[in-house]
Amino acid sequence: MKVLLSKPGLDGHDVGVKVLAHGLIDAGFEVVYTGLRKTIEEIVDTAITNKADIIGMSILSGTHLVLAKKMNEVMQQKKLSIPWFVGGNIPAKDIEKLKQLGAHNAFPTGSKIADVVNYFNTLKVNV
């Protein structure tokens, strides 16, 4: 399975996303990372070009709802069904809101790499 990890918006905190990249690779996933400051359109295009099975967005500046709304719009416009996730500084009460905006799930800071790996593995069956 191929995972596209991305940094949308202007937030430059990339320690977590890189840690997850290492963790996913060690767990046997193929990982593509966009680098910093990508627009949602750029991220989706990169996912299409790379035939990604999963998209992960790392957001720590608090802009997750704004960016998730945009992601939802772009995915619908392009009629795509790639499962996408949000990771980072996400308050518990926003996880449900993110799901309503189309996110498959959210992994707040403090989530275990093993939990992300296990969750992604359960998607394998459906991909």
């Binding site: 430059g12 320690v15 608090g62 802009t63 518990a92 790499i113």
Partner: protein
């Protein structure tokens, strides 16, 4: 007479081995033998090489400056928070900017949507600086601008604002973070290619050396490099390599080392083992003094001072059981004081997940004040000086930092190591290993992997985003834009481009532009036309 050999190692005493995060093994016991060959016996605070502190009496004369990081939303709100902090005894300001300002975007740029005023104050034009610093006595309060990619513009605005308010800029004090090289390693607010970015930093050093000699134009940050995964040795080594790169740039402009070295300052991180951090700072201070005097031939005593802000690191704080962070931060403050810092800042207990509330910011402030007024940390200089353990570790740190700096030389210097992603690659691997250590329990963390509380409430107070304030900021920007002299604005932007093409120092043309209320975005775009943009190497 035969010397009685003390059993000192873990093997000899039959106890488990202990290693510091830096990889150094710690003996269960240290004795006079361990510092037999150390230079420390002849070292005095306030004298070269300043291992024990840069001033003879340190905090007895004046405690360290307390400078909490603050600034959010609009310049108006920021001004209010500044007034609150000053009223409560804070002696310096550390200004946070929002991401659009840091990345060179105006508030009305589509890419700034949702970010205006979110993580700091939004600045579009000089007017915002005028509002933020209204009624703040710049002679009494020192101001630190935490900005990098657009630091040259922020410094220009600060100077222009001070001039307009009648201050003589030849006496103007203050600091800008302005360390772009570390932004490529961690934090990520780069804009221009690495070489052009360094050129802009050197422009500010040159300009300040000539016109604003008491201003510290650069604060070299080991902090963010450590937060990105570097160990304490690498934190110091990479910061020193970066400081040397800026210094070499300034020297190549014909400025003498003594004209700017004493205005270079550092920003370091504190979390982890107490003794390791203290030794890191003491050993680092000795090594930096030697570099500046022996390698660069500085004559002025103050040139070789390692002046620093050493603050509690966010990396040590946890989202779990957040009140424990108050305790952690108290230890970090103690470490900072025992290390002879010039300025201190603490992350607030809620900072692992949000922008601090007024309440949590006050607790941080009180933590430092309690330490100063109740704990006796200011009574005597370098109270850990002479400890066998601390001195042995200090010597080891000096040696190991020096070695690590040689590794950077093998990567063809820090500018190359950053541009090619070499450092990013190595620190991100370490960050992963450390995180795995926390997750599998080999790196103990209270509340996270030991002494975990089962019924953990995850709900926390979150700093709200004010969309209305963001819209007001945009309105204000449009108002300023419509009331300025359009022809002069265009001329100023052209002048910046011309100076950039001719490789001149951009400070004079940027100061002229901000005075005409050119926006941050306009100035950055003018520079981009000549310099281009950084292409991030993808490494993890």
């Amino acid at each position: 007479m035969n010397k009685i050999k003390t059993k000192k190692t873990a093997e000899e005493l039959g106890v488990k081995k202990v290693f510091l995060e830096s990889g150094i093994e710690v003996n269960p016991i240290y004795t006079a033998e361990d510092i037999e060959n150390s230079s420390i016996k002849h070292e005095i605070p306030g004298q070269y090489p300043f291992t024990r502190g840069i001033h003879p009496s340190m905090y007895r004369n004046k405690p360290f400056t307390i400078r909490q990081y603050a600034g959010f939303g609009s310049p108006e709100e920021t001004n209010e928070r500044f007034q609150f902090l000053i009223k409560n005894g804070q002696t310096g300001l550390n200004v946070a900017f929002d991401l659009p300002t840091q990345c060179g975007l105006d508030s009305d740029d589509p890419r700034a949507f949702g970010e205006v005023g979110r993580v700091g104050m939004s600045i579009d034009t000089l007017e915002d600086f005028e509002i933020a610093f209204k009624n703040i006595d710049l002679d009494k309060i020192t101001v630190s601008l935490t900005i990098n990619g657009t630091a040259i513009i922020a410094i220009a605005m600060y100077i222009a604002m001070a001039e307009k308010n009648g201050y003589n800029i030849s006496n103007l004090r203050g600091t800008a973070q302005n360390d772009i090289l570390k932004e490529f390693i961690g934090r990520g607010t780069w804009i221009f290619p690495v070489d052009k970015s360094v050129k802009l930093v050197v422009d500010t050093i040159e300009y300040c050396a000539q016109h604003v000699p008491k201003y510290s134009p650069v604060s070299v940050c080991g902090y963010h490099i450590r937060e990105s995964g570097a160990n304490p040795i690498q934190e110091m080594a990479y910061a020193f390599c970066i400081a040397k790169a800026y210094s070499d740039g300034a020297l190549s402009r014909g400025i003498s080392i003594d004209d700017f070295a004493s205005r270079l300052s550092f920003n370091f991180d504190i979390y982890g083992n107490l003794f390791e951090q203290v030794a890191k700072f003491r050993g680092g201070r000795r090594l930096w003094a030697k570099i500046i005097r022996e390698e660069y031939g500085a004559k002025k005593e103050s040139s070789s001072w390692l002046r620093m802000i050493a603050g509690g690191g966010g990396g040590g704080l946890t989202k779990e059981q957040p009140l424990n962070n108050i305790i952690r931060s108290s230890y970090y403050a103690l470490i900072s004081a025992l290390s002879g810092t010039q300025t201190m800042a603490l992350c607030s207990y809620d900072e692992a997940y949000t922008i601090p509330t007024e309440h949590s910011a006050e607790i941080s402030l009180r933590t430092m004040q309690i330490m100063i007024h109740e704990m006796g940390v200011c009574d005597t200089v370098d109270p850990l000086g002479g400890s066998y353990y601390v001195e042995a570790l200090t010597d080891r740190f000096e040696k190991d930092i020096k070695e690590e700096m040689k590794t950077v030389e093998k990567w063809n210097g820090i500018i190359n190591a950053v541009a090619t992603g070499k450092i990013q690659e190595s620190v991100s691997r370490q960050a992963y290993e450390r995180e795995m250590g926390v997750q599998n329990g080999t790196v103990p963390k209270v509340g996270v992997n030991i002494f975990v509380r089962e019924e953990e409430s995850k709900e926390v107070e979150f700093h709200p985003y004010n969309q209305e304030a963001a819209e007001n900021q945009i309105k204000k920007l449009h108002k300023v834009k419509s009331s300025r002299n359009h022809q002069k604005v265009q001329e100023c932007l052209e002048a910046i481009k011309k100076d950039a093409e001719q490789n001149k120092n951009l400070m004079p043309s940027v100061i002229a532009a901000v005075k005409e209320y050119c926006t941050v975005g306009e100035i950055v775009n003018a520079m981009k036309e000549v310099y281009g943009e950084f292409k991030e190497p993808i490494f993890f």
